[in-house]
Each structure stands twice: as C-alpha cells, then as structure tokens.
C-alpha cells in the first residue's frame, strides 16, 4: 500500500507533477493496481525459459548521421548550433 505522500514523492522523482485535487483518486487507483500485482507473491522461483534470441553485435564504425539543421529543426530554441535547455545548476 502507498499513501498520498508516497505518490507525491514518486511524482517528484519522475518529474510528472500531480495536482493536489487528483491525488486522493490517483492514490486509491494506484493501490488497487498494486493489490492486483500481489498475485506475484504466489510465484515459485523456478524459471528456466530462454528466449530464442541472440545479441547481434557489429563493429563500432562511424556512419552517416542526420545533418545538424535537421536535428535542430524540432527544438523550440537553439543557439550557435546547440539546443538551448533550462539551467541544470
């Protein structure tokens, strides 16, 4: 079970924001979903399946990439060929 302050804390960690007025509903829904996940507490440990896939490796070589202008075209703000972002510090 989680409480409203747990949900608020997770929302802060995930940077999604959660308005105070929906917090009680969100918390109640969250708990119903977590309760459903409790089925996994009845799971045994045995687990032997392997997926029929293998990792595809390649040489690390330079290949053509998108032109800088094409990449910057979708940025709201850019400066001197770079994307302008909010300050981190």
């Amino acid at each position: 079970m989680v409480n409203e302050s747990d949900v608020r804390r997770i929302a802060e960690l995930a940077d999604v924001g959660i308005p105070a007025e929906v917090l009680p509903t969100f918390t109640a829904q969250f708990n119903r979903i977590l309760e459903y996940f409790d089925i996994l507490d009845t799971l045994g440990d045995e687990c032997t399946a392997k997926r029929p896939l293998h990792t595809v490796l390649r040489e690390d070589v330079v290949s053509p990439s998108l032109p800088q202008e094409a990449v910057l075209a979708n940025a709201a703000e850019d400066e001197d060929g770079f994307v302008k972002a909010p300050r981190v510090m």
């Binding site: 999604v16 969250f30 799971l43 909010p86």
Partner: protein
Amino acid sequence: MDDRFNAYLLRSDVPGRRSGPLAGRTVAIKDNISTAGMETTCGSRILKGYVPPYDAHVVSLLRDAGATINGKTNMDEFGRGTTTENSGFGPTLNPVDTTRVPGGSSGGSAAAVAAGLAEMALGTDTGGSIRCPAAFCGIVGFKPTYGRVSRYGLVAYANSLETIGPMGRTVGDISALLRVISRPDPRDSTMQGLPYEHDPVPSVRGRTIGVPAEFFGEGVDPRVAAKVRDSIETLAACGAKVVPVSMPTMKFALAAYYITCTSEASSNLARYDGVRFGPGAEVQRSWHDAFTAVRAEHFGEEVRRRILLGTFALSAGYYGRYYGKAQTARAQVAADFERLFRSVDLLAGPTMPTVAFRLGELADPLSMYLADILTVPANLAGVPAISVPCGSVDGLPVGLQLMGRPFDDETVIDAAAAFEAEVTA
C-alpha cells in the same frame, strides 16, 4: 475523405514508387511510427508539431513497394490504453457502432481499415494493441514474432514487448503487407534477419491446435466464448486436430506485463522534456521545475499514471518485489508456451474477453488493464499471434486469436487463411 470516426490525426496522399507489390494501394500508418516530413505525435500533445527528420524502416519499405501513405492514425497516447480514448486529440469511434470504442491502442488504424478509408494499415502491438482493435472493428490484425519486423523509427514505449505489424480486411492483405515490412535492417539489433517470404496456403490439415482452458475463464463473455469455440470446431472440420491444454502461468501474465511495460515506459518517456522537440521548456527556470511543468501540462492522465507505476516498480526497496518478480513470471509464461508448442502447432482462443466497450465504459484503470488478459501472453513470450473475425455478438464483431511458435508466423497465417476461406466460402 469523410473521417467521421476521428481515425486520422493527419491525412496525406503521398504516392510511393509507381511499381512494386503495393503499387496503387493505400496504407494508413499509426502515429507512433516516424514519417519523414509528416507530423508524428504518438497521440500526445507533448509531441504536437514534431516532424521526424527520417523515415522508420517500415515506412521506407512501404514507399519502395509503391504504397500510397494516406495518413497518420489516432492512438492512445504513446500506446497506453485499450480503447483509443486516451488520445490527446480525442477518441476514435468504432465504425461498426459509433457509440463504442474501436479498441486500442491502434484504434485509428483499425477504424480506417474497417471504414474503408485505407485498404491496409500499420499498427503496433505491445500487449494487444493490433489484435484488440482488429477484433473490435471486425478486421484482421497480426502481431509478428518479436524480432521479425524492424522497430527502427518506432517511437519506443516498451521495447522488449512491442512490434510493428499489419492490419487489413483479409489475411491475404496482411500477408502481403508483412512481406514488405519484414525486410532485414541492421539498425534494429533485435532483428533476427528472417524475412517473411510466404504466400498463404489456406490449410490446417494435419495441424494440432491446443485450446487453453484459461482463455475461456472468468471475465470472458460466454457468448464470445461460444463463438470462438464454434470457430475452433470449424478449424477441426478443416482437418485440424483440436486438443484441450492448460496454461497455468496465465494467472501471472497480466501483472508481469503491466509491471514490465510501465517500467520500460517510465524510462522511455524520460526523454520528453520539451527541449529537443515538443512545446519548449522555460529556459530561465531550473531544469526540474521546467521539466515538470512541461510534462504536467502536456502528458495525459494515463501516461502519468504509467510513468508513476513504472518509477515505483523500479525504485529502491520495491524493485525485487515488483520488477524482479515480473521478469521471473515472464520467463515462466514463455516456458509454458515452449512446453505447449512441443505438442501443438497452434494455440487458439478469443482475442478479447468481450465485444467492444461503450465509450467511457472503462473509467477505472484496473478494469481497462484486465481487458488485456488474453493478448499480453503472446507479447511476454514474443510469439506470433493473429486476430481474425469470427462472427458477432449483438451485432458487434468477435475475434478468433491464433498463436504460433516463435518465427513460425507462416503457420499462424496459413491457419487464419484456412478459417477465413471456410467462413467466406
């Protein structure tokens, strides 16, 4: 084009090459698949105005094959939903009955095909997002084996589960589309380089079809179950051997799926900060404040819920209880499929437990998640699965689901073709 179902987010008329296997045929593309020069929003307001500078591999292949791309289709925001009501741009309506949802998340693609606005469409399937709307709209939808179609240019939601796949009115059409889109691509490292080069052979003679009891359990509408059982009898009459089987790990599948997909989504969606694409963040504010403000304003409620669930499942102190256990459960589901496919060639059951819901009917998130119970097992195990129309209940379409061995997509398509030939004869 009269799109009264809100199937499309963007309409276009971009012809491909003049020759090729799909020359002159129209294909609609789900809006989470990148199209160079055409807005691609994933049904989210946070990507409003985003125009990809490159084509997804499948889109390049369609253009080369001569297909006319006639638009981008509506979807639940970033694929999070089973109804297409969670789109940032309004719900899509089911062309069979406009008071009903088309299913989701590829609801726009299914509605476009069902309404005759496109001959075929591409969808994506992470937990049933091709098969569910195909069943609800009365068309054919196919989730290929994971690793058979390149995901390059697909906007990621849950990488280990999702595949691009074909939707159409006939099994022949989805087979033709799969032939085009399954060409190898070194840019997707999970691609196995096994292109589908098959022409459907409408036959199930000599095949063994397992019918898991769990696919007809609690929550499955008995009228839907009866239609599907009749359809399996039809396959038996066509020469298949039908045997009852059991899939005990089904009870873990939905929890394993939702924990895995929300965890992967919480990581994938971290990139939407409004800075490199999207609405723009206030550069004067601190990073976290600016980031939170953009995401709170532009992400819908279901997307935020899934990011929160995934962040929680991966957080210190809970990782072992949720994410860790979900991976064990996932491996057990895959092992169950492997065991069953030693004695059967195909598994059959309903695609969805019910017919299409009324708009607004699934207001509670958990009841929407429960509707995915019959489709998520195939994604957890990566196996191919098709939904083919098999009649109706109260005038609403029902889908028969057939699943096969990994990379044996051909047998699944042959069986669906046999069923289709028998019921349309």
